[in-house]
Amino acid sequence: MSRAPSPKKARTALLAAGLLSASPALAQTSPADDIQRGAYLARAGDCVACHTTPGGKDMAGGLPFALPFGTIYSTNITPDAKTGIGTYRFEDFDRAMRKGVAADGRHLYPAMPYPSFAKLTEADMRALYAYFLKGVAPVDQPNRKNGVIWPLSMRWPLAIWDAGFAGKPFEADRTKDADWNRGAYLVEGLGHCGACHTPRGIGDQEKALDDRGALFLAGGPVVDGWIAPSLRGEAGTGLAGWNQQEIARLLKTGRTDHAAVFGSMTDVVRHSTQYLSDGDLQAIAKYLKSLPPTEDAPLARPVVADRTAAALRAGDLGRPGAAAYVDSCAACHRTDGMGYVGVFPRLAGNPAVLQKDPTALISVVLKGSTLPATAAAPSSFTMPPFGDRLSDQDAADIVNLIRNSWGNQAPPITDRDVKSVRGHMG
């Protein structure tokens, strides 16, 4: 977008300064530049996603998060002096962003990914501060009281959590080039991709915060019936089959020739990644492609002989799920599971299909999915929900067929798995 600073220039500047992770040279930025750059960084951080309610004023907070220990609400981060962060000094803002401590000394809940934001350079933090204090319209909207039950409502233990799991400033890897480092900085930092894509530990902390951890971005837990897959190099379930261009295109448009975003990632593309410069998207993709598969993962998908396409075309519908697949799925995804280039996703070899945990695929079948309308690809194609037409057994049969046809291999599911996902749909 036009608001984006030229990342190429930015990287050149930082190379010249010998600061792989830093942003354009500090001395040359004007306050207006800072606000504009801060707006771009706020996009990269997708601040609006959590700090805005549907139909509400931008950054005024109030979005509920149903967490295991109760419901918490995001806060007003507009520069309103009474209800927002209008009285914050830079030091207050910096501390909240990096350490999760508000200006009044309250500890923030780690739904706010401050361990990731701790990676930010000071220049970027100052640009974000400039944007939030001067570029965002103030909104008078008091924060909602959190519904966390005692004793978890006591905030002092958070300080201990913070001490254990705090993030650290980004350190460039001098063995890698500037693009890789830019990508790492965005993914590990503002992008806070690990919030969804990294498995969580006993304290609900992300098990790794950067590429030095083998489980970084190795696939996250189920959230709201969706599961964020691994962004590492596993065959089948990860990004082994994806090239750098495809990753960048998915982030820009929400779709590639063979895949489409779904679940929470739809909002990430809509509010955040579509606005990133092509250079930043390529940097992110390059970085992600560099992450090796987790240790236990096979290096390549086994080749499986498969007769599904031939059977479906011949009208052989004896296999459970076959008739329902032909009736409800094949018009778009086709009897060979290949979809149509650019419009209807391929099911054969699709990581979303091959995940060990079938939750996301079941969710798509039951709830459907809508592509985000992006500037580069405005069509918000929608797969309709099939939950009202399929019994738990029907849906399980279809999911099993999809997961074990056209070369796909994934553990079988039962109607109980479908029932469980349906139960969470409310």
Binding site: A331, P378, T382
Partner: protein, 592 residues
């Protein structure tokens, strides 16, 4: 009186079908603040057209869910000026659209241009056949615009619609494979033709054997995945057979909803207000300048929307009615033949021939696509010598198998009982072995076929209904009988067991119960002379130059081709003139 007055805008658009969405996109691109008012509800592929609920013949084709709500407003119809007109209370002859996407959401997808000669129909016939050839009372006119002027806009519309087809003539060079008679095109279609169903194959083969020139019908049903110049995407058509009357669940049929709205919706200077029924265009004291429109919103409030530019882009006859209700232009007077608004109301003129084959010929009529098939133009427009025939006009002929659905019923050979064991046996024997072909003919305009305001009947808002005065004329029946005769020969040459012919007889009157296209035209016709046309070649009102009237209301007579492609090209042509000339210097684009 208006209850509220929202912020004035640069342009207000009345009606959000193809014409409205094209103008909205063009004017928004030009930087104008644009508000579009659509009287029907908001509609999109999802949830409104989602599979499988949209595959419902009763809800859509029979009860007309996407059609105008006739209980709120309809038209009255009579055959001749002396008759008393009565309201059209059930869908039959035509199905005007309603809601976001308009008729563009429920059309079939046949996407033609126009033949170059038909743009100057009167001049062409007078030059080739002499001044006396066009009979007295037939008020056909030239459009006042040439094919070459329109070509870039035909091309643009095809690229936006993702049209599937095959060019024959590219910049005067015959490349073959398409329509032998077509005007020169600047390039190929954006997508290759749809696959032929078997009945289309049979028709093409039989036509070729008889020396005719079959070509694939140009269809705005995507033959493959497609991304249009706005970045909007289409999925490939799966030949499900639910096009005309339905919304498309596959994103395959071009519509304002699929091809334009996704990009338009992202523009901050555009707003679409559904459930907003425009009552009239407001004029200033001089009557020469529109100040905006008054509409009724979903809550029943009257709202005045001020605008510098007013675009009327409702269905053909609603454009005419809004002009009459608003006092734009001089109403047509049938007694004197003077006045222009309501003049030259015309239609189309179809005949159908069916061939019934034995059990070895599988036409499988449940397979279909709204715009696909094979056609010949040998008897369309002036592609054949009218001199000895003594009529004006013609028909393309085609097999356009668009999916035979259960309620519409099965065609069975003549003489088959309507029920009982014999009917059942015939249904079993013939359903999958029937081929249907149409002669999709032109309809000329006449002095006593026109639109005006009904003196008796009013709509739900208390405004007079529009009155149609229309009947079939000898010229057009002569034409359809001639062409249907040729079409019958083609079908007979396929050696079916039996052929049945449905064609008008001399003396037949317009019967509103029988569907035959919704291609109504005229009433706010374009032309070069303000005395005989309501709008100039840029579709600008001669009388109120900040009003443009976009639609098939501009056609001076009915052509054999389906009108949407021509209408879309005129919309882009008009928008181009607004963008390049009118906005710099608002005023008449053609001096009077």
């Amino acid at each position: 009186m208006a209850a509220a007055s929202p912020k004035p805008v640069d342009a207000v658009i009345v009606g959000f079908g193809w014409a409205g969405s094209i103008l909205a996109m063009e004017l928004t691109e030009a930087g104008l603040n644009v508000v579009a008012l659509e009287r029907g509800q908001n509609r999109d592929t999802y949830p409104d057209f989602a599979y499988p609920k949209v595959i419902d013949e009763l809800t859509y084709a029979v009860r007309g869910k996407l059609f105008q709500n006739l209980s709120r407003e309809t038209v009255t119809i009579r055959h001749a000026p002396g008759d008393r007109a009565v309201p059209y209370r059930q869908f039959g002859a035509f199905n005007p659209g309603d809601g976001v996407g308009g008729a563009g959401a429920h059309w079939s997808g046949v996407h033609f241009r126009i033949t170059p000669d038909e743009l100057r129909l009167r001049s062409h016939y007078e030059e080739r056949y002499g001044k006396g050839f066009i009979p007295e009372g037939m008020t056909v006119q030239d459009h006042g615009v040439t094919y070459d002027e329109l070509e870039p806009f035909f091309d643009k519309a095809e690229k936006v619609f993702g049209t599937s087809g095959k060019a024959n003539n590219i910049n005067g060079k015959i490349v073959g494979g398409g329509n032998h008679f077509e005007g020169p095109r600047s390039g190929e279609y954006p997508l290759p033709p749809l696959k032929n169903v078997y009945s289309a194959e049979l028709f093409a083969k039989a036509s070729t054997n008889l020396g005719y020139h079959p070509y694939p019908l140009p269809a705005a049903n995507a033959s493959g995945p497609y991304t249009n110049p706005y970045g909007a995407q289409m999925g490939p058509c799966n030949f499900c057979g639910y096009c005309g009357g339905f919304g498309c669940y596959m994103y395959s049929k071009a519509s304002p909803n699929v091809n334009i709205l996704p990009a338009l919706r992202l523009k901050p200077n555009f707003e679409l207000r559904a459930n907003s029924h425009v009552l009239k265009v407001n004029l200033d004291g001089s009557g020469k300048r529109a100040t905006g429109v008054t509409y009724v919103d979903a809550q029943g409030r009257e709202i005045e929307q001020q605008a510098d530019l007013v675009i009327l882009s409702a269905f053909q006859f609603h454009n005419v009615r809004l002009m009459l209700l608003s006092g734009i232009g001089k109403p047509y007077d049938v007694a004197s033949g003077e006045g222009t608004v309501g003049k030259n109301f015309a239609y189309q003129n179809m005949g159908t021939v069916k061939a019934f084959f034995g059990p070895d010929v599988h036409t499988n009529p449940f397979i279909g696509t709204g715009g696909g098939g094979q056609a010949i133009d040998d008897f369309n427009a002036d592609n054949f010598d009218h001199g000895p025939l003594g009529f004006v006009g013609g028909s393309p002929c085609w097999v356009n198998q668009s999916g035979v659905k259960p309620i519409a019923g099965l065609a069975l050979p003549e003489g088959t009982p309507k029920w009982g064991t014999t009917w059942k046996k015939a249904a079993k024997d013939y359903y999958a072995h029937t081929l249907s072909a149409d002669s999709h003919g032109s309809n000329m305009s006449y002095r006593d076929c026109f639109l005006d305001l009904d003196p008796t009947y009013r709509d739900i808002h208390g405004q007079p209904l529009l009155r149609m005065t229309f009947d079939w004329k000898e010229n057009d029946i002569k034409m359809t009988r001639y062409v249907v005769g040729k079409l019958t020969e083609i079908l007979k040459s396929m050696s079916p067991k039996q052929v049945s012919v449905s064609v008008k007889k001399f003396g037949d009157h317009f019967d509103v119960r029988n569907y035959q296209t919704t291609h109504l035209v005229g009433g706010a016709i374009m032309g070069a002379d303000p005395k005989t046309s309501a709008v100039n070649k840029f579709l600008q009102s001669w009388d109120v130059p900040n009003v443009f009237v976009i639609g098939s209301s501009a056609f001076p007579q009915g052509t054999g081709y389906n009108p949407t492609g021509m209408m879309a090209a005129l919309a882009y042509f008009s928008a181009h003139a607004i963008r390049t000339d009118y906005l710099k210097n608002p005023g008449p684009l053609v001096p009077i």
